[in-house]
Symmetry: C2
Subunit: 231 residues, 2 copies
DNA sequence: CCTTGCATGTCGCCC
DNA sequence: GGGCGACGTGCAAGG
């Protein structure tokens, strides 16, 4: 990894055009050729960047640019598209390189899979008398998060989200359309379950006869912990 | 901005839990307290991070950690939530600080808003005789990008995307469904306009009686520039 | 301040 | 390589 602090201006031309006026920034060149341009604020997203794989070519400035103070020009070219980044360096303030090696990578714990497991274990949160058929019920267009039966023996399809928005309702609608073509399952009711459900999603779901269920993750985990304590 | 190259392990606890095993990485501490942990590959997303505003507290390692080689522990605490990052530093390999100042920020050209403005100005690209009703026409389920009338006085709803995908067609379909319930507007025709339209999206749109329109942004901007030159 | 929808989204999975 | 779904999504604009 190569780190450069420089006064520079930057132009990106590719999926759109973007320009950064002259200022002091951090340029990070990674081993795979990707380049990140960071300021001293904002979140983790750089001001501008080039995704890997890319190649960096350093050139002398055009006469006009040289006269306006450009010392060197970095041409960063994406290997597979015609996206490119042009970095005009006016002043080189610091330079450092270090070989970091390959990273062992991130280990995550506690994502949506947990919510799904908890709801499957506490299936009566769908309503009294519900029984679990199975999680990740496969269909031709993808897996239904949870398939269950209600007290009357009717089939219920559950789409589970951490944050419930319109896309999730569309997703569940597609599943319901498909499942309702199966005479062994039809009629299939839909339940849209999420920790938080956006108003527009709730309107759309209700309009389509899909029930909404807000889940309290902490409460569900609490029940799970209480269950675990029995062993 | 403070840059540190260090052998470290990292733990994040907040909306989920995540762990990075011991390896050599770049730690970037920004002026607003945010921290980024980068490896020498991947795209612009760090392996782990803390968003601003946050505070960094450096502590001595617990006895047990010290015995396993930890020299110092960074506690990065988010100011508004209880998200936190714990960075256990085993070896400090490089350190550099530089005040970058405030960045003037990125200037973008070619995002959806630009495309929408140009299409509204050049509304006859929808076909001869079209007139603009308004941009961002509000409905209960969200704003229709452009509402227009065609030569026959019929209403036309336009969904605009930089890249036309299936979900864009779904979005327009929802708007059309809703708009067609309004007797003052019905029947409403749909036009799916994008710089690039994916084959599957085109098929779906056509199947639903929605017209597809491919937009040439450079050409549209060229017309705009030509107009501007008149003044 | 909260909600909403775009993003050069990125990332990982499966086909 | 494309489609699909999740993300600690981030981010800005608008009510």
């Amino acid at each position: 990894m190569r780190l450069v602090i420089a006064r520079c201006s930057v132009d990106y031309i590719g999926r759109l055009r973007a320009h950064l006026p002259l200022a002091t920034r951090l340029l990070m060149v990674k081993a795979d050729g990707s380049v990140l341009i960071h300021s001293d604020g904002g979140s983790y997203k750089p001001l501008n960047w080039m995704s890997p794989p890319a190649t960096l070519r350093v050139a002398e400035p055009e006469t006009e640019d040289a006269e306006s103070g450009v010392q060197e020009v970095w041409h960063v070219q994406h290997a597979k598209s015609d996206d490119r980044l042009v970095i005009s360096i006016h002043e080189h303030l610091h330079e450092y390189s270090h070989d970091l090696g390959v990273d062992p990578g991130l280990v995550k714990d506690g994502v949506e899979a947990d919510l799904q497991r908890l709801l499957a274990e506490q299936i009566d949160r769908l309503g009294p008398g519900h029984t679990l058929v199975r999680r990740e019920y496969m269909t031709a267009i993808g897996p239904v998060d949870i398939l269950a039966r209600n007290a009357d023996g009717g089939t219920v399809a559950v789409e589970l989200k951490r944050r419930g928005d319109i896309d999730g309702v569309e997703q569940l609608t597609r599943y319901l359309e498909l499942l309702n073509r199966d005479p062994l399952l039809a009629p299939v009711k839909g339940i849209f379950a999420a920790q938080q459900i956006k108003p527009q999603a709730r309107v759309l779901a209700t309009d389509r006869g899909i029930a909404c269920l807000t889940l309290d993750y902490d409460e569900m985990r609490g029940v799970d912990d209480a269950d675990s304590r029995l062993f």
